[in-house]
Symmetry: none
Subunit: 211 residues, 4 copies
């Protein structure tokens, strides 16, 4: 189970890149096997059909995204001295940096690619994406709630909304980056939400201070 695994991963790599560039149904198995230098039978040995490939791609994508978030924010927790606000701000900065360091810009979000072709996928896959998005959203929401429990916000915004804003900005940033061929948009947009959060929890121009 060694050579087979490598082939499987190669297929997934090629497929993911193609799907992000052309969409799922425009990505033919034929072109995947041509690039992977295997035959069709080889492909079907690893993936029973195209849906199985889609599922595998998405699962892999979710796992790798989870890892990114966890690694980044574990490091942020490490750097912030127990202050959830510090940790969140540091985490977002690290995230922005990571996005900026991608050699050829962000390749795209598989989630977005899927929702814009949702009719092509079966229920379980769509369910899977929804759960992953919900999971990431909860991840950010719980951190925001932690912040809110220690700091006062100068505007009334609930944590759910704010968590979504982070994710929306990233996904929207990816799209704009692709349209305008500007790889700096995603990191800069992340920094923009970060500014918002900082502003939101800035000690309320401390009335005491003012006094």
């Amino acid at each position: 189970v060694r050579k087979g695994e490598a082939t499987r991963e190669r297929i997934l790599d090629i497929a993911e890149a193609a799907v992000l560039a052309k969409g799922f149904s425009a990505t033919s198995i034929e072109e995947i096997i041509a690039q992977a230098e295997i035959t069709k039978s080889g492909f079907f040995y690893h993936f029973a059909d195209k849906n199985v490939l889609a599922r595998a791609m998405m699962e892999r994508y979710i796992v790798s995204n989870n890892e990114i978030f966890e690694t980044v924010f574990a490091r942020a927790d490490d750097l912030a001295d127990g202050d959830p606000l510090q940790s969140l701000l540091i985490g977002l900065k690290l995230l922005a940096e990571q996005m900026a360091d991608l050699p050829s810009g962000h390749p795209g979000c598989l989630i977005a690619s899927v929702v814009y072709q949702e009719r092509m996928f079966d229920r379980p896959l769509l369910q899977l994406t929804a759960e992953a998005v919900q999971f990431w959203n909860n991840f950010f929401r719980s951190r925001i709630e932690a912040v809110a429990s220690k700091h006062v916000a100068s505007e009334d915004i609930d944590a759910e909304q704010l968590a979504r804003m982070i994710m929306c900005t990233v996904d929207g940033g990816i799209i704009m980056g692709k349209v305008l061929h500007d790889t700096s948009i995603v990191p800069r947009q992340i920094l923009a939400v970060r500014s918002f959060i900082k502003l939101l929890f800035r000690p309320a121009m401390s009335l005491e201070q003012a006094a």
Copy 2:
């Protein structure tokens, strides 16, 4: 030149809905003509090939989007008494309301649909989308600059970045709304950026007030 025009529009309506749900290449001409109740010849009379259809769809989408923005912000200018900040905030609120009033949520953004299948489209079409996005961005940026010339921001954010944030939030919101089947996300996200802008230009906790 009357019946033909109606057929053409019907084709575009059907095609747009299908593209937003399944992507461009998964949208077959066959299904379009079945829904439009015409024959293939009828279709190809109006659109020489699928690329021409894509171009026409995008052009129509851009025009209609332009109209929405212009209508909404013309009304906002009307309601705000010359204050650019008021106008921007009112405009965003109106936009949010408009998005909330869509019967079945926002159907999706054709721009996003295209960038996530960019390999499928020819240069001119991609160029067209880029120009439209740039145009809308400039639209928001000039309004933000007008605000900035009259009000002080409590954070350093350039207008370009902030304008992009509006658009990213909408596009990202559409994606999240589709994933989570929650039509309220787009309007709420628009209100979230609105909050940010309000906060950003809020008179600096009026030191006078504090006094």
Copy 3:
């Protein structure tokens, strides 16, 4: 019936060139009308359908070919002082010169074009071509017979066969000229048969002469 006639001829010109270059069934009405700058209705006004076009093309081709042969050999008869051999030899030379003077080489033989797609044409058209070929063959045969009645051939060859040889050489020469992109092949091949004929009827190295 003046402008209409001009349009009709223009259509035939364009169609003939296209048929010689791509064959009949690969020549679409659509491309003909595009080149002729008329609409489909205009085309169908002149030719009820594609078969009618084919017939008209062939009839025109036969007439023009007849004219060439008749003109050339009328002139040859004029130059030769009543000697059929002289006339034939002069005629072939004139023919070769005429073929050499075509600006871009011989465009091709419509007859050949038809026989290599015979399944595409109806009986009457094929009949027409056969009759035309037979007619031209008789034309040459009767001239050869006239020669044979006045001169002794040094080989036994019947006139029919020799007449055919002239036509075969031309048609074959056109093909070779097209394959090798050498416009000089047709005239040179005509001169080659001419040599044969000359040799054939050369006074038999007159034994009397030798004595």
Copy 4:
């Protein structure tokens, strides 16, 4: 690798017959597969597209034609006692007999079929046909040169020209045979050129003999 090869050859056989009867573009893949009793997928497994089929057909045709020429003239060399003239004359006679023995006359020349639809084929294929024709021409030319080095011609005709005459007569003969539905034309035309060659190199009515 056995069953596949048989299918491939069957396709080529059917395609060649159809192309000679109707031309390349009028020969639909659908009819080929119907006759071959396979499906379109089977066809496209063997030939990526119609051009590949054309190329394969032409290559096969050239090879088989080469074999015919070589076999016939090897036998001719065998029968003639080292005399190139004898060998050439015998070879042409054998060739004529072979053409006469074809059950339903000569089916046609693929080269001619291609040049009369040259716009339909890509450069490499046209190149291929040109090279083949050149090759056959050289084949005959070198034999004629061998004759000329041993015998005196009574007319000035260069070998190139004479070699071409052989090929032109065959190609032209095929066309006439098809038009007039007379399968005897090709062999008789070959015998006609043979007569010419014989006459050309006939010992000049040996003046010595006459004396």
